[in-house]
């Protein structure tokens, strides 16, 4: 199994968020997690990425034969995990291009691959940015600084396409996107899909899943997965909401 989450319980500031959550994702699969506000979707994404604010009460996470809890935040990223943030952080003064260059090389170093030089990286970045309809001038700016909501999300996908992760977690990437931006972003994601990588998509709405077809849809309520199935669940939620799953 590529990612195996077993009986995961997590709390933050004395509040239990995840409760004995189980989830298995295999190579090449696309999973979607849907759930009402506050059910723990973003907590799951943050715990997977290694955010240190949470207390792990119980359970285990295995990723590519590694105990995930043995890896710190950057080691998880270097092992091929990528979180597209719901609210990408603005970092004034940190230029996008050298930041991404440094990020890709840290991953290559861990994989014992040759580092990518300036020129090759510039070419790669330019071509990926062009695919996502990102203006080259934007690459001269500071990370997420002064970007619109849509630009931030597009920039997250650009980072994802450069870093080419094995497991990409998209935390409400559709929020704040207009329909045109949603199309560009989801096309970008679809282009990255291969039989060797996996996606975990967190969303409230079916709309995103119209563009990125999931293999499995899970419903999360009160920190646990209460139902799993195919795309029909997303349609059910779109029609009836989450209420019936909460009972």
């Amino acid at each position: 199994m590529f990612l195996e989450i077993k009986d995961l319980s997590v709390k933050i500031e004395n509040k239990n968020i995840l409760d004995k959550l189980n989830l298995n994702i295999d190579k090449g699969e696309v999973h979607a997690i849907m759930g009402p506000n506050g059910c723990g979707k973003s907590t799951l994404a943050n715990v997977l990425a290694g955010k240190e604010d949470y207390e792990i009460l119980n359970g285990s996470i295995n990723f590519k034969d590694n105990d995930l809890f043995d890896l710190n935040i950057e080691e998880r990223a270097q092992e091929g995990m990528f979180l597209a943030f719901q609210y990408p952080v603005e970092i004034p003064g940190v230029n996008i291009t050298p930041f991404l260059h440094s990020a890709i090389n840290s991953k290559r170093k861990r994989m014992n691959e040759e580092e990518i030089d300036n020129l090759s990286f510039a070419k790669l970045l330019k071509s990926k940015a062009s695919d996502l309809g990102i203006n080259i001038d934007m690459l001269k700016r500071s990370v997420n600084t002064g970007f619109s909501g849509g630009e931030k999300k597009r920039y997250e996908i650009l980072q994802m396409s450069i870093l080419n992760p094995d497991l990409a977690i998209l935390d409400e990437t559709d929020s704040g996107l207009d329909i045109d931006a949603l199309k560009i972003v989801t096309e970008g994601v679809n282009k990255l899909k291969t039989k060797d990588n996996s996606f975990l998509i967190i969303t409230h709405y079916q709309k995103l899943l119209d563009y990125i077809k999931p293999d499995y849809v899970h419903v999360m309520v009160n920190g646990s997965i209460v139902r799993s199935g195919g795309s029909e669940i997303a349609a059910e939620i779109e029609k009836d909401g989450f209420q019936k799953f909460q009972q």
Partner: protein
Amino acid sequence: MNILDNYIKNKKNIFFSENIDIQNHREKLINIFENDSFDKKNNESLKNINLKNFIDFKYKYLIPEETSVINNNQENSYSIVSVNGQCSSFKDDKIEITKILDEDYNDFSKNDTIENIDHFVNLNSLFLNSGFKIVIKKNNHIKIKISNIITDDDLTIFQKNNYICEEGSSLNLIEEYENKNNSTSNILNVIKLEKNSQLNHFLIQDNSHNHNLIITSHSSCKKDSIYNQKVYNFSEGYVRNFHYSELIEANSEANLEGIFFLKDNNTSNNKTFIRHLAEDCKSNQVYKGILNDRSKATYFSNTHVDQVAQKTEGYQLSKGILLSDNASYFSKPELKIYADDVKCSHGSTIGPIDENAIFYLRSRGMSKIAATKILISSFINEELNSIDSEQMSELIQKKLVRYLSKVK
């Protein structure tokens, strides 16, 4: 030894001590010391310092054997090596440099505006033993680099420099302080900017941990003149940077920028006092500090806008990053406004490094230490990018890399 005994014992070595007017003036200053309770709560010049070290000091001064060198390297460009605060005299058709002793004592004797409120200025006036005067002649545009060298351990330098930019002139002044010996420099720069002149004053401070550096500058700007000061402090010893500025005629400006990088038990005290005394004047201040370990810093700022100073623009901003729970930065920007048509603002932000930004960078594969360093660099990115000299920019970058190498 108290101030009086110290003064009497060393009087013969102190400049202008044979002058009766100056003697009387110095006696008044001694009285201030003897009668002051040194209330640290209400006197910013006393914060974060071990006063005893500065008042009960052992006076020692050596007249330098080697004469300082003044080179006219390129057209309009000069380099000066100031040794123990002294500098040779030099004159051409563009600038005039005069040793302090060759000057009229009145130019050096009193600083009514800032004496009495600042004990270190008083000490400077009392124990004056070095200094020079530089005049940039009318309509000339000059670059000067001053390297400040101290020859021996345990020296107490009390130096007063006068800078005068005559009408229509400009001066790019770079001062480097890189002393490794155990000594104390108390330097007062008195700056006069005549009509339509400009002084760009760049100070790089990188002294070792046993060197104390106390720099006070006092600028006064006439019509259409501009004083720009940038201070980069990498020192491991105590540093005090105080600036008093008077915008005395219309459309004059004072722009002050101070960046300090502290670690271990370093202390950096910063204070500015800007008086807007005419209309259409501008002042802008940006002070940023990065503090690690048990280091401490202060920023006290007072911008006073007189009632005649309409259309004033006055801005104060201080920001600090605390890299350790034991580091502290006390900031107090104040505005006193007596005119009714002004644009003024003040702000201060001090805190640890942004954990969300660290998480974001780490989630892309960057190590925690690399993320911390990149965020420190980005914190002062705007100021670094505003340095227009490539050579200076490289020098600051080099010192920044050295500072960052110690950040764990």
